[in-house]
């Protein structure tokens, strides 16, 4: 039995939330001279690109490095769960000594972020790493991982699913909660 998905963020509050996240980033990173944005494949890259574009508009700095990182080869459930296929990793800048903002759409168990941190270290040693997520599913962490910037915190149970939809790929900006 499945019920109608619940709308967590509509397109208007979606825009406002991303706007606020960008303002918070600008507060901490000033001119972004030493900063870089990395979106996690597959769904974090849309948020990373959106934020990258908005910060460029707000600060006038069009040269902030922005890349995509795939974590498939670093997963901790290889040969344990279903098989995942790798998507492209595109990091064409040096992350050594950068302040890296790791971006994903939904923070759930924290395992993806753990894998992302490991994957990122193959490219160098950043000065510091921050985590930005659009949705934080509170009380569901398997690992001690805490985001620095959160769009919206939601309370969910593990059988539920949070889906972030994007104008570019899904037609409309919104966040939905599905019950199983």
């Amino acid at each position: 039995m499945s019920t109608q998905p619940r709308l967590i963020l509509d397109s208007k509050s979606f825009g406002l939330t991303i706007n606020r996240l960008c303002c918070q980033l600008i507060e901490n990173h000033n001119d972004f001279k030493q900063s870089a944005i990395i979106g996690l494949q597959p769904r974090g890259i849309f948020l990373a690109q959106r934020i990258h574009k908005l910060i460029a508009e707000k600060t006038g700095n069009k040269n902030i490095p922005c890349g995509n990182l795939d974590i498939t080869f670093y997963r901790d459930d290889f040969r344990r769960g279903e098989q995942h296929l790798a998507k492209p990793t595109e990091i064409d800048f040096v992350i050594e000594d950068k302040k890296v903002i790791l971006v994903d759409d939904v923070l759930f168990t924290g395992r993806t972020i753990r894998a992302g941190l490991d994957a990122m270290m193959a490219f160098g040693r950043p000065q510091l790493v921050e985590l930005l997520v659009l949705i934080d599913r509170r009380y569901s962490r398997h690992l001690p991982i805490m985001p620095n910037y959160v769009g919206k915190t939601v309370d969910t149970i593990s059988t539920e699913k949070v889906s972030v939809e994007w104008k570019e790929t899904d037609g409309e900006d919104k966040v939905l909660l599905f019950q199983k």
Partner: protein, 305 residues
């Protein structure tokens, strides 16, 4: 969709177009991995792989070993020449003894065609064929096709001529299967004695004039004359072979079009291909070697999962 249709990689003949596409899509990602500052991912850290080589090899063994190490697998190497095989141990016994030491995947090269297939039916491990006699060399077929795809974007409709010793070549067979499954056209070219009679069953064009074959093709894969397998005289002299089937700069320039030159290695410089062609910008020989590691990582990764 995200898994191979086979348990073992015994030959291209046994896998589907979907499998090949899957291997290519993951090899793209592994190619990016091996160009990182740290060229290693932890995916196969709980897996042990045995490389069992009953026949000499430099490139393939090194390439497999590097692929395995870059996936963080544990690797054991075994060369038949320095082993108990010379004391009369059978293939199954040898491999079962290795498996008793908890090995998950066996990469094997063997001079007898069908040895990996035979082994896959009798031992509990996944088998990757690294060349079995004149039968197949699947990872070479995959990496050759992958290199063409990388250069030309797509394999559909591409014309590939395989020139040289087709009779003794497992590379030719794997190339033909792989290219045809991906929609390319294949021609084989060589002296009558080195083209097997059954080749027409594979639906390939046959040509004995190298110039005509080169005019026709977009890609020429120059095979090595397998001097160690020339048990009888297949052509009057090496000099005559070079005159008719050796690729040099002059012939290449006379074509009035650019073709891609490939060679699976090891090169007999001055026989099937001259140095100025092997080292020219048309040649993708070293890219083939680089792609070999990415392809083998993709195959091992997909088989292990």
């Amino acid at each position: 969709m995200s898994q191979l249709s086979v348990q073992h990689l015994l030959g291209i003949k046994y896998i589907t177009k979907k499998d090949i596409e899957l291997i290519f899509s993951q090899a793209d990602q592994f190619k990016e991995v091996i160009n990182r500052p740290i060229k290693k991912v932890p995916s196969l850290r709980d897996i042990t792989i045995a490389n069992i080589f009953f026949e000499n090899s430099t490139r393939t063994r090194l390439s497999f070993e590097l692929a395995e190490k870059r996936l963080s697998a544990d690797v054991v190497n075994f060369a038949a020449s320095s082993s108990s095989v010379s004391k009369g141990e059978t293939l199954i016994d040898t491999v079962n003894n290795i498996l008793a030491m908890k090995v998950d995947i066996v990469v094997m090269r063997h001079p007898k065609p069908g040895a990996p297939l035979f082994l896959s039916k009798h031992v509990k491990a996944q088998i990757v064929n690294a060349g079995d006699g004149a039968h197949e060399h699947p990872t070479q077929g995959l990496l050759d096709a992958f290199s063409i795809r990388e250069k030309l974007g797509d394999l559909k409709g591409v014309k590939v001529a395989i020139v040289g010793d087709i009779l003794h070549s497992r590379v030719a067979i794997s190339n033909i299967y792989c290219l045809q499954k991906m929609g390319a056209e294949v021609m084989v070219c060589g002296p009558t004695t080195l083209i097997p009679k059954y080749i027409s069953a594979l639906n390939v064009k046959v040509e004995h004039d190298m110039k005509k074959a080169l005019q026709w093709c977009d890609v020429a894969n120059m095979l090595r004359i397998q001097l160690e397998r020339q048990d009888i005289q297949y052509f009057p002299s090496l000099r005559e072979y070079v005159m008719m089937y050796g690729l040099n700069k002059q012939i290449l320039d006379s074509l009035k079009k650019e073709i891609i030159i490939m060679h699976p290695g090891p090169i007999n410089r001055g026989v099937e291909i001259t140095s100025d062609v092997a080292d020219s910008k048309h040649s993708v020989i070293l890219q083939q070697v680089e792609n070999g590691v990415a392809i083998r990582m993709a195959v091992l990764y997909l088989l292990a999962s």
